[in-house]
Symmetry: C2
């Protein structure tokens, strides 16, 4: 969490951390500014010191509200530096950064973070390293400073995430009410106009309910019927009719309108009744879901839970990516992922060498076992968002029930 | 535009372009995949060849719909490479990229693009350069390959942008109807509950109207009253009451729900009547707006229009950033910016050394002169989105009228 940043910088022997980017495109800038809408800022963090925000003067009101020490970027006049650099924008921008760091008294090891265009960032950082000879530009890869801070959430973040979970639940409840309340004819649900209810209708309804709850869906959602549910990220075919007995994978991952913390949940539903193979797969997914939830404990390797899940599915005769990394049937993904300002963030649960992530208080992550059989016309996934509180107690932030079969209205 | 990519690669003597990132966070990935929701892909472009999309197998349906040649990333088993690299994720990921490029027959100069975490991207690209000894990793900064392609829009993109402009206009029209239709008491508008109408009410109304038009506002909007309008990016104070005679800067920059092309427009309004200093500033802003619109022509330097605007405002006694780069009063920003999949993209209109951008057919950009006087309690800005068609004819995509004073309902 944010309060760990000083310690994490010291552990990494960093004299400073330089964060570049815009709130809209950089979750790190969002994280450090509380979501203030800022464009092309530089944030300087140093152990034991107040963070410095270097911002455009047009955003001076927004910057001032962040609580960071604010300096307008115009203190280092880019146009004049560009002239000095004879119109070379790359050299000018690197020189501007060098002067900013020098004027703020930064020297030594400087970690670089934030988000940007890859080639441009590479060019800029290499140029900065070339001109700022008293700096060592540190590019971290795995478990970098910001990832290590963001991997645990403080109490305020946890409250925000619980709130998003409640709002997501309201949307899912409304959707389930819609589906169970529609008239049935010829084995499918009917829309108010008497035509078959389709995935397009459902997606429009979810969108409306999200707006009502102040949620948005930057990544869309998955409402995938039958065969489509057997391809994990297939979002569903808008023209498909909601028919009884056809398994639906509904994966919902909204966040508040305008940005903030995500929720992530999946339910598998069959309207009216479920085919026997789906029931069987569902029972297995629920069994390992419950086993994982019951065995979560602080200090355990995240990969352990993936290993446990793979062993369980293998023992029940399913291929898994543990035995065949390229399988597209059986259990084909990892058990979960951290989430927060991004839908996928640390910790990872992959059972691969190098994944040293360990469950810690403050973590928020998904638990989402699933089985996928595209050729047999179904997929099954169950997913809750789980929070490990400061005392090491695990809480699902996803209250919606886990019944496979949703009853339908009978004539 | 996209069809220029081959030529642009050849001009840059690039043997290939490697694009990394996710659709949600990389407008470049969005651009090359038509907005298909893909995570952590690699896209390989080579002059004269069909693009290759290397994707996660869970996204095989989405990938297939892009029209690119698709290869699942599992062809290069990361878990196995991580084991070879003794758990070092950075070395493993770089080695995976090296093998992908080698197996696809890539050698020579490879430009790198897309979006990612800055430190991680820097580490990965430096490691790739170290292990892929037959490659020259090219990091472009200004006017890079993708920027040069995206700076002009093809006919399909222009149609999408005109459509977003029409939907934005519907929202602004509804808002103006709301404001001009509310009862007035004690010099301010009244909400339906008889309380004063506030900025918070207005923002909620805009949000509702956006949802109705299938628009979202990732960057929020600006509805800034009086003094707040004098600080260009102040988004407005929710508690402020909409009072007669108080200038409002309304800057609206939506895009379609789920991603796509932005519109960007600003109107300055006064309800009922406008104070004399605001009228005067408004007349000047309108005059230079019209002068710029009338003088737009293909082949002219973009910076020329900024110079023209600064000269005009200076001649009317206003400070500008041309005479004082750090001024926060008068004319404090550049005349416009390109827009498309990002709200701010090329071309830039800054009058600085190194800005060699020239107006070209296919460009879409804003024209947005403004004057800012925070201490005097007002700002004025007028902004249209302008499209230069293939024949070099300029079209405003922002039909909403430019009247300063909106009439109010009289008792």
């Amino acid at each position: 969490m944010k309060q760990d940043l000083d310690r994490l910088m010291q552990e990494r022997r960093l004299d400073a951390a330089l964060v570049l980017g815009s709130t809209l495109s950089s979750p790190t800038v969002y994280y450090l500014t509380g979501g203030a809408k800022l464009e092309n800022v530089a944030i300087l963090l140093r152990p034991g010191q107040r963070g410095v925000l270097i911002h455009g003067p047009m955003e001076r009101d927004i910057a001032a509200a962040t609580g960071l020490e604010c300096i307008p970027i115009t203190r280092w006049d880019l146009a004049a530096i560009v002239r000095e650099m004879e119109g070379n924008l790359l050299r000018a921008r690197a020189e501007q950064l060098r002067r900013i760091l020098a004027d703020l008294g930064v020297s030594g090891r400087v970690g670089v973070y934030g988000h940007g265009e890859i080639g441009q960032s590479l060019a800029l950082m290499q140029q900065l390293a070339a001109v700022a000879t008293d700096l060592e530009i540190v590019a971290e890869y795995a478990d970098d400073l910001i990832t290590a801070a963001r991997v645990t959430k403080d109490a305020a973040e946890a409250r925000l995430m619980a709130d998003v979970g409640r709002r997501a639940d309201a949307v899912v409840t409304a959707l389930a009410d819609l589906l169970t309340g529609r008239p049935v004819a010829d084995g499918h649900l009917l829309a108010p106009d008497g035509q078959p209810l389709t995935v397009a209708h459902v997606k429009a309804f979810i969108q409306e309910q999200c707006a009502r709850q102040g949620l948005e869906q930057p990544g869309g959602n998955i409402f995938a019927l039958g065969r489509d549910g057997g391809v994990p990220h297939n979002q569903g075919n808008p023209a498909d009719v909601i028919a009884l007995g056809v398994p639906i994978v509904f994966d919902f991952f909204p966040r508040p309108v305008g940005g903030g913390y995500y929720h992530d949940m999946t339910r598998t539903w069959c309207l009216g009744y479920a085919p026997e193979p789906v029931q069987e797969a569902y029972a297995q997914v629920m069994a390992i879901f419950n086993r994982v939830m019951d065995s979560l404990r602080v200090g355990e390797r995240c990969a352990h839970y993936q290993e446990m899940t793979c062993e369980f599915f293998e023992a029940h005769g399913h291929p898994t990516i543990q035995s065949d990394p390229s399988t597209t049937v059986g259990y084909v993904h990892s058990l979960g992922h951290g989430l927060g300002l991004e839908i996928h963030e640390a910790p990872g649960f992959r059972a691969v060498a190098g994944n040293t992530a360990v469950v810690q208080p403050g973590m928020v992550f998904t638990v989402e076992p699933g089985l996928y059989y595209e050729a047999q016309g179904f997929g099954v996934r169950i997913e809750d968002t789980v929070y490990c509180d400061e005392a090491g107690v695990f809480h699902s932030l996803t209250p919606f029930p886990k019944d496979l079969v949703l009853p339908v209205r009978r004539a």
